[in-house]
Subunit: 128 residues, 2 copies
Amino acid sequence: MKPGHLKETHTRSGVEDACRPIHEILGRVGDKWSVLVVQLLGHGTMRFNELRRAIDGISQKMLTTTLRNLERDGFVSRKIYPTIPPRVEYSLTDLGSELLGPVKALAEWVDVNRERIDAARTRFDERS
Amino acid sequence: MKPGHLKETHTRSGVEDACRPIHEILGRVGDKWSVLVVQLLGHGTMRFNELRRAIDGISQKMLTTTLRNLERDGFVSRKIYPTIPPRVEYSLTDLGSELLGPVKALAEWVDVNRERIDAARTRFDERS
């Protein structure tokens, strides 16, 4: 019997349980491009090229992948108009609109606290 | 005069303004490992190796970088004990503890809505 080992296993498992929701977010809604796309579509329906222009540094392939994953998870719906070339429009689903709430709350927190973060950075860089 | 062009420029700029806080988050607190570390330290002070064991798949180098960035931004503080080998403990600062609020809210949203996300995935995969 190794109580120390048992205790450690128990602690680690508790930590993992507590973090499971975060793991879910990270796999599903937490990646950089997904959060940006959800935020942008919160302003209304957008076409593929509008999204691409609005997001600095995203490649066509990465935007395609991001939108496909968001559609798969039920946050974004896609509508194709049979024009030449086809027009493809993206918008938030009900689930996607609900996700906007906590995403915006996090965004606002960062906005409100930006000066404190900047000050911490300056102090750190002066020490280093 | 090209009103269409002007309108488009205006719209794009508006979208960028609205998303600036999100850009801030993504650069500062939104990356996968940072969110996990902040969440874990929300349970209390942890040593480097405890963090490493608790986070599946993180390398020593990535954890070092993540902790350094979180310290630089003022979310995490580091305390070194002059034992052999030195013991290094990490904990959330006041700023880091405040960040936990919106991070947890997002985590809870995902937890509550996990079944809806799973159902959307199943529907999508059946269509594809």
